[in-house]
């Protein structure tokens, strides 16, 4: 299946770039403060932290559900600080989004929930049918495509949500606590699926989770947040890195160095 691309990142392109990004809901409460982050094409990144650390806000800024109060947000070449309302749909079509509470349409069956995403980007019906069934097959739900989603277990619902997020072949998959409502085994299965998507399709993945055990088992790059700040950025464990990567600790970086950093490198 050919990938649909509006923006075509070259290998190792920075696909998510945050520079000194802050988000304040009120004058007193800052959800994110001075966040600097770069995610390259094909990377798998965890964002972890305790409840209220600002990790979900960070993802909402990246998907432009929230607008940053200050700083520069650039995702897939879109400057989200200045993006017009009319350009948001085109930008979002490059993203696949998965939520903790699945957000499936309860009055429709499995197939319709996934096809819904294809309809929005106006895929012809024959091709849509092929794409939906392929994706359901990939997430292991093809035999239940006629089921109402309310008849599915939590893990199964998240598989369907994942299929919906991926069926349009997004360049970036954003998952906000995708395993938050699942037991440990099912959570691991879902993470394996997300890992497979990252490896097989080269989709850039950013997963928000507070589940330390999953993060530790996956050996991926980990961004840790605390009280709205990124306090550490730990690269993937060496055995899983394709190319050598620098260890990048924010605590050791001078603000001037960040300003001089070449984001298009």
């Amino acid at each position: 299946m050919a990938r649909r691309k509006v923006y075509t990142p070259e290998s190792d392109d920075v696909v998510i770039s945050l520079r000194d990004v802050s988000k304040q809901y009120t004058k007193q409460a800052a959800a994110v403060t001075g966040a600097n982050l770069e995610v390259r094409e094909g990377e798998f990144v965890f964002v972890t932290g305790e409840t209220g650390s600002g990790k979900s806000t960070l993802v909402k800024i990246i998907m432009h559900e929230l607008k940053a109060s200050s700083g520069e947000v650039n995702v897939l070449g879109y400057d989200l600080s200045r993006i017009g309302h009319g350009k948001i749909p085109r930008f979002r079509r490059n993203l696949g989004i998965v939520f903790q509470d699945f957000r499936l349409l309860k009055d429709r069956n499995v197939y319709e929930n996934v096809a819904f995403a294809q309809r929005i980007i106006m895929v012809p019906s024959a091709q849509m049918k092929r794409n939906v069934l392929n994706m359901l097959d990939m997430v292991g739900m093809s035999d239940k495509y006629k089921r109402k989603v309310t008849q599915l277990s939590g893990g199964e619902q998240q598989r369907v949500a994942l299929a919906r997020a991926l069926v349009n072949k997004p360049l970036i998959l954003l998952a906000d606590e995708p395993t938050g409502n699942l037991d440990a085994d099912t959570a691991w299965e879902i993470m394996q699926l997300i890992d497979k998507v990252n490896r097989d399709y080269g989709t850039t993945v950013l997963v928000v989770t507070h589940d330390r055990s999953i993060v530790e088992r996956m050996h991926k790059r980990v961004i840790e947040m605390k009280q709205g700040e990124i306090i550490s950025d730990t690269p993937a464990k060496e055995e899983d890195i394709d190319e050598e990567e620098e260890i990048f600790e924010y605590q050791d970086v001078d603000a001037d160095d960040l300003d001089n950093y070449d984001y298009d490198d």
Partner: protein
């Protein structure tokens, strides 16, 4: 719009109608109630206006001339042509003194008219001027009074004032009542559709996350609003039609002695305007109501 999107919009629009049966019925009932009130009001007003207009047509101004000073029939006929060209004038009738006496004596004197050897109305050739616009009677009268050949002008000021006052009142009352009805309906319909849409909020949010355009999200709801608007206007039209016919039947039966005065418009001539206006208002209310209701959910 792609053909697939078109059919999707129609399909989803119909699905929404049936998915939220309660809200659909409430919306249709709201528009129906408002348009039924509008229809009844429109029918009464149109008939009232028709009766007033008919009364207005009977209002005339009569001009007499200085025939004793030698004003000729030719001069009067020239003036008739000039008056006929005036905007506020519907028609002008030239009545000679002989014709006037003939009519008067036949109406009021009968056989006693033979007692008059000469025409007592000699020198009273006159013009009877019927007005197209009663409110401009004064202008016409002052125009006539300023003419040298005119001796006297008779007019029915009280009737004219009352009729033009009634006409103005009907006009302003119509505008105010229609405006109030429209605002109330719009408020009710957008609230009803908004309640229906709240149950779709998840769906709209997901659509926006996936990258649906505002148009794509809005189209099924707007289509739903249009259908509600059409249904909400057809039902009260049928009801108004029935009530109108029955009302005329009852009033004509009970007040037959007033049949000369109460000249009702036939149902067709009222509905000639009421059908397009009601459907237009229903469709407009459905369209604007659904646009307003979806708008606040689009900023995701």
């Amino acid at each position: 719009m792609r053909i697939g999107t078109f059919f999707y919009t129609i399909g989803q629009g119909f699905k929404n109608l049936f998915r939220n049966k309660g809200y659909t019925l409430a919306s249709i009932a709201t528009i129906s109630a408002c348009l039924f009130l509008f229809g009844m009001f429109f029918s009464v007003l149109t008939n009232f206006r028709h009766i007033v207009l008919r009364a207005e047509q009977g209002v005339s101004v009569t001009a007499f001339f200085h025939e004793e000073q030698g004003v000729t029939e030719e001069q009067i006929l020239q003036l008739k042509v000039a008056i006929e060209e005036r905007e506020e004038v519907a028609s002008v009738e030239y009545i000679t003194a002989d014709e006037a006496w003939e009519t008067f004596s036949e109406d009021y004197l009968g056989e006693y008219k033979d007692g008059f050897l000469e025409n007592p109305l000699e020198g009273d050739d006159h013009l009877v001027i019927y007005l197209a616009d009663v409110s401009q009677q004064s202008e016409l009268v002052s125009y006539l009074e300023n003419l040298d050949i005119v001796r006297e002008v008779n007019r029915s000021e009280t009737v004219a004032d009352m009729l033009s006052g009634a006409n103005r009142l009907i006009f302003y009352a119509s505008i105010i009542i229609i405006a109030v009805l429209l605002v109330v309906s719009l408020f009710l319909i957008s609230n009803t559709i908004a309640s229906g849409i709240t149950s779709h909020q998840d769906e709209i949010t997901i659509m926006k996350y996936i990258g649906a355009t505002d148009f794509y999200v809005r189209a099924p709801y707007v289509f739903e609003g249009l259908i509600i608007g059409v249904l909400g206007s057809v039902i009260p039209l049928a009801l108004t039609h029935y009530v109108y016919e029955r009302a005329i039947e009852i009033i004509s039966g009970k007040f037959s002695m007033l049949s000369g005065l109460l000249d009702f418009l036939p149902v067709e001539s009222v509905f000639y305007y009421l059908i397009p206006v009601s459907i237009g208002m229903g469709v407009g209310l459905g369209f604007i109501g659904s646009m307003l209701s979806v708008r606040k959910h689009l900023n995701v």
